[in-house]
C-alpha cells in the first residue's frame, strides 16, 4: 500500500470499531468551538445536515451553494427512500445484513469498516428525521411503514411516497435555517466554489465567484467540508439537476486531494428514455417501482405492436427469467446491463428501440389501483406529465441513464481527504458504495455523514487548531488562488470562438456514454481518450461565451464547469483503462463470465484506485488502497 494513503481504520471487531473510535477521538471543548470556522460547500442532505449539526455544536459555520437557496440541492429529487436497520418488519434485518448487502451490492470494492458504520448509524437518522417532522409513510396503526428495494431481500426502506429525498432534504434545510436564524451559520447563496486554498499543507479556505455580481471572493476557515454531490452530469444527459457539476471536487484534486475510483458511475436502470434531440435532462423513475412493476420486452425482435396487444406468452420477463431469486429486484448495475443487452439485440421497444417496459398490469389486478396509487401516485403522475402515457393503463417505457457516482474524493475513516483539514461527505466522497450503489442508500449515507459522522470526526482534527486564530484572507496563498481563478475565467472569455458551451458538453457526454458507459473495452476507452483530448483542445480554441464577466452569466458558469469536466473525463477513462476487471457498474467486455456476468479479479484489483494530480498535462499517479475483507468473503455476486 502506498505510504500516502492511511485509511485510519480503527482496530477491534467490526461492530465495535466506530464506538471505540469515537471514544479515542480528541475533542474540542464547547467553549473553544466558537473560535473555529468551518466552511461547508454544498448543502443538500449531506451538506445541510453537517452544517446544521456543526453549528449546533457551536462551531462557526459558513455555507456556500450555487443555487439561490440550499433547498434546491439535488438531494431534493431523491425519490424512493432511505434505508435503516430498524427491523420493524421482523424480517431478520440487522446492521450486519445491511452491511453485507452493501458490500456485496458494491461488488466487494468498498471498505468494510466504513460500510458497517453507515449501517450502524442508519437508525439514528430515521429517529432524527421523524423528530424534525419528516412525514414518512405510516401504517394505519400510526407506526412507520417500510418497503423493499433492489438488491436486498428485506423491507428496510422508509419512504414518503416518491419524494423521500425532498422531505429529508427539507428537514436538513430547516435545521440549517434554524442555525442561520440563531447566527451560528451563515449562508452564501449563488456562489460557485472555483478553488481551494491550501496554506502550509492544510485546507484553509475557498475562492468563490459571486454568480450575481461576478465578484471573485476569498473565504477562510480552519477546515473545509465538500458536500458537493456527484458528477453524473458529465454524460450530459443524466437524472441529475442540469447544474450539478464536478468543479469543486476537481479544484480539490488539483490542490492535492486524491480522486478515488472516478470511473465507478452508476447508470440507473429506470429512467424515462431519451425522447428527442433537444432533451436537456432525463427523469428518474424510482427503483421502488420495481417492487410491483415487471420488466419485459417482446419475445420477437422488432415487435412494434402496442404493449397491451402483446399476449402473456409473447412477453419475455427477462429479469425474472435470468435472475429467479431476485427477479425484478436485482441491483441497478445488473438491471441496466440486462436492459442494454436486450435493446442491443433488437428486442427494445418504442420508436428508437432503446427502451423496455415496466408494467404494473399484474400489480393493479392483484392489489387494486388505489393501493398502487398510494405507493407510487406521484411517480405515475410525473411519468404521465412527461410522456403523456398513463401508466395505470399502459406499461411505462424505461431505459438506463447516468445517475450517481460511486467514485469521488478519497477519504479516510474520518472522511478527511489527503489534504489535512479538507473533508468530503455524501456523494462527493467514494467511501461506501464500492462499484455499485444499492437503492435508498444514498440518502442514508449523506445523512449519516452529515448528522452523525463528520461532526464527530472533524473535532479530532480541529482539537489542535484552537490556538490558531482566524485565518486571514490576505495570505499569499489566497492571492495566488484568486489570481489563478481570474486568469482561467479571463482565458475562457477571451477565446471568443464559434461554438456554445452546451454543444461541447453534448459532444463530451456522447463520447463518455459510447465508450465509458454501461460497457467498456480497451480499444474504445483508448479511442475515448483521444477524442476527449481533441475536443478539449477544440473547446479551448473555439468556445463562445457572451455577456460579461462581472454579471450573472450562465454561459460562463457552464463553460467553466465543462472545462473541469474535460479533465475529469480524462481521469474517468484512465481509471477505467487501468481496472482490467469487471466489477459492479464497471463492466469491461474483455472480463466477463460465460453467462455475460462481470468477472472480478480479486488477486490484482481488490483495491481502491486513488489518483494524484501531478501537473496540467502530466499523467495522474495511481495509489492503491488495498481492500481487506475480514468479515465477508468476496464471492462471485449472484442474484440468480
Amino acid at each position: 500500500m502506498s505510504t500516502l494513503l492511511d485509511s485510519k481504520i480503527p482496530e477491534g471487531p467490526l461492530a465495535e470499531k466506530w464506538t471505540r473510535h469515537q471514544a479515542s477521538l480528541k475533542l474540542v471543548n464547547a467553549a473553544n468551538r466558537k473560535k473555529l470556522d468551518i466552511i461547508v460547500v454544498g448543502a443538500g442532505a449531506a451538506g445541510a445536515s453537517a452544517a446544521a449539526s456543526l453549528a449546533e455544536l457551536g462551531y462557526n459555520v459558513k455555507v456556500y451553494v450555487f443555487q439561490d437557496s440550499s433547498r434546491r440541492a439535488h438531494s431534493i429529487a431523491s425519490q424512493g427512500g432511505i434505508n435503516a436497520t430498524k427491523n420493524y418488519k421482523n424480517d431478520a434485518d440487522s446492521d450486519f445484513r445491511l452491511f453485507y448487502d452493501m458490500i456485496k451490492g458494491g461488488d466487494f470494492r468498498a471498505r468494510e469498516a466504513n460500510v458497517y458504520r453507515a449501517a450502524e448509524v442508519s437508525n439514528k437518522i430515521i429517529d432524527q428525521y421523524v423528530a424534525q417532522g419528516v412525514p414518512f409513510a405510516r401504517e394505519y396503526s400510526g407506526y412507520l411503514a417500510n418497503r423493499s428495494f433492489g438488491g436486498v431481500q428485506v423491507s428496510r426502506t422508509f419512504y414518503a411516497q416518491g419524494q423521500t429525498g425532498q422531505q429529508c432534504t427539507l428537514a436538513a434545510y430547516q435545521a440549517l435555517s434554524r442555525q442561520i436564524s440563531a447566527g451560528k451559520a451563515k449562508m452564501f447563496a449563488r456562489r460557485d466554489m472555483l478553488d481551494l486554498v491550501v496554506v502550509d499543507g492544510r485546507a484553509r479556505g475557498i475562492i468563490t465567484r459571486n454568480l450575481i455580481t461576478g465578484e471573485i471572493e476569498r473565504h477562510s476557515a480552519h477546515a473545509v467540508v465538500l458536500a458537493t454531490g456527484g458528477f453524473g452530469t458529465i454524460y450530459y444527459l443524466s437524472t441529475l439537476a442540469v447544474n450539478s457539476n464536478g468543479s469543486a471536487a476537481m479544484a480539490a484534486y488539483r490542490k492535492g486531494a486524491f480522486m478515488a475510483n472516478p470511473s465507478m458511475a452508476q447508470i440507473h436502470p429506470t429512467s424515462i428514455p431519451v425522447l428527442n434531440d433537444y432533451q436537456s435532462k432525463l427523469t428518474l423513475m424510482s427503483e421502488s417501482l420495481r417492487n410491483d412493476g415487471r420488466v419485459w420486452v417482446p419475445k420477437t425482435k422488432g415487435d412494434k405492436r402496442p404493449a397491451n396487444q402483446i399476449k402473456e406468452e409473447e412477453r419475455d420477463y427477462y429479469l425474472e427469467r435470468k435472475y429467479p431469486a431476485f427477479g425484478n429486484l436485482v441491483p441497478r448495475d445488473v438491471a441496466s446491463r440486462a436492459a442494454k443487452e436486450r435493446c442491443d439485440e433488437g428486442y427494445g421497444v418504442g420508436d428508437t428501440g432503446l427502451s423496455v417496459y415496466l408494467d404494473f398490469r399484474d400489480a393493479i389486478e392483484s392489489q387494486g389501483k388505489e393501493a398502487i396509487k398510494a405507493k407510487y401516485g406521484t411517480l405515475f403522475d410525473l411519468y404521465k406529465k412527461i410522456t403523456g402515457i398513463n401508466p395505470y393503463e399502459e406499461p411505462m417505457r424505461i431505459y438506463p441513464a447516468s445517475h450517481y457516482t460511486m467514485g469521488g474524493l478519497w477519504v479516510d475513516y474520518n472522511l478527511m481527504t489527503t489534504i489535512p483539514g479538507l473533508y468530503a461527505i455524501g456523494e462527493a466522497n467514494f467511501s461506501d458504495h464500492g462499484a455499485n450503489r444499492l437503492g435508498a442508500s444514498s440518502l442514508m449515507q449523506c445523512s449519516g455523514d452529515g448528522y452523525f459522522i463528520l461532526p464527530v470526526t472533524i473535532g479530532d482534527y480541529l482539537s489542535d487548531q484552537i490556538k490558531t486564530s482566524r485565518i486571514p484572507t490576505d495570505l499569499p496563498e489566497f492571492e495566488e488562488a484568486e489570481k489563478a481563478v481570474q486568469e482561467k475565467l479571463n482565458k475562457l472569455m477571451a477565446v471568443k470562438g464559434t461554438q456554445t458551451p452546451t454543444s461541447f458538453h453534448k459532444q463530451l457526454g456522447n463520447i463518455l456514454w459510447t465508450y465509458s458507459g454501461m460497457k467498456r473495452n480497451e480499444e474504445g476507452l483508448k479511442k475515448a481518450l483521444e477524442e476527449i483530448n481533441q475536443l478539449k483542445e477544440e473547446f479551448w480554441n473555439d468556445v463562445k461565451i457572451l455577456a460579461g464577466i462581472n454579471e450573472l452569466n450562465h454561459e460562463l458558469e457552464k463553460a467553466n464547469r465543462i472545462a473541469d469536466f474535460f479533465d475529469l473525463a480524462q481521469l474517468i477513462v484512465i481509471d477505467a483503462l487501468n481496472r482490467k476487471e469487471s466489477c459492479g457498474a464497471h463492466f469491461r467486455e474483455e472480463y466477463q463470465t460465460d453467462e455475460g456476468e462481470p468477472k472480478r479479479d480479486d488477486t490484482n484489483y481488490s483495491y481502491v484506485a486513488a489518483w494524484q494530480y501531478t501537473g496540467k498535462e502530466a499523467q495522474p499517479k495511481l495509489h492503491k488502497e488495498e481492500l481487506t475483507f475480514e468479515y465477508v468473503t468476496p464471492v462471485q455476486r449472484s442474484y440468480k
Binding site: S49, S53, E56, Q67, D68, S69, R71, R72, H74, I76, K86, Y88, D127, Q128, Y129, V130, A131, Q132, G133, P135, A137, R138, S141, Y143, Q163, Q166, Q167, Q174, A175, S177, R178, I180, S181, I212, A241, V242, L275, N276, D277, Y278, Q279, S280, K281, T283, G350, D351, T352, K385, I386, Y451, F452, P455, T502, S503, L546, A547, E551, L552, H554, E555
Partner: protein, 253 residues
Amino acid sequence: MNHCSNLEDMKLTLKIWRQKNKEAKGKFVTYKLDGVSQEMTFLEMLDFLNEKLIKEDADPVAFDSDCREGICGMCGLYINGRPNGPLTGVTTCQLNMGAFKDGETITVEPWRSKAFPVIKDLVVDRSSFDELMQAGGYISVNTGAAPEANSIPVKKENADRAFEAGICIGCGTCVAACKNASAMLFVSAKISQLALLPQGQVEARERVQTMIRKMDELGFGNCSNTGACEIECPKEIKLTNIARLNREFYKAL
C-alpha cells in the same frame, strides 16, 4: 438519439422581459423563433433560443432552472399572464411546448412581486422565502436528541396530510399568482405540515406568530382568499392549509 417525432415544428414569436440587472429598467424584447418542436419542454425551447442568440452574437436570456423535473423549485416564469403557463399542476420545467400552437405569440416575464426583486432578465431573488423559513419553519431538535422513531405513533391520516402540505417546493408561484403578492400558501404549507405532527406541536404557537410577523415585515401582501394560489400551485397545495394557518394563529393569540 433519434428525433422520433412526426409532429410539425412551430414558428413562435416570443416577447421576453429583458433587464440587465436589479437597478436597470427592463423592457420586453421580441424574438422570432423557428423550428420549435412540440416535444421540447418550455425551458428547452429557451435553451434553443439561447443557442441561437449566442450564434448571432446576442446576449442569451438569463433564467433559473436546476432539477428540470419539478422538484427543486428553482424555475418559475410568468407565461402568457399565468405562472408556469397554461397548464395546471406543473412547474415551468414540466411545461411542454405541445401546450402551444404554431404561430403563437408567447409573453415571458419573471415573477412580479416586491418581495422577489428581479436580478436579471427572468431571474428573481427569492431569498425572502429562506428568511420566512428561518423565522420558525422548523422543529428545534438538535442532532442526537431524537427519541426512537416509533415511540410516538402518528395517525396515518395526519401523516398523509402533513406530507401533502410538506411537498411545497418553494418556487414562489403562489406569490406570483396572488394579486396581493401574499405568501400565505407557502407559509401555511409549512405551518400545516408541522402542526399536523405531534413533533411540531411544542413550538406551534410561537411558530405561527413569528412566521406571520416575518411575512408582513418582508413586504408580502395580505391574503384576501381569492384562491389563485391554489389554482396555480404546481404541487396543488390546498387552500385548506391557509384555513389551518388561521386557526393556528387564533389559537396562538
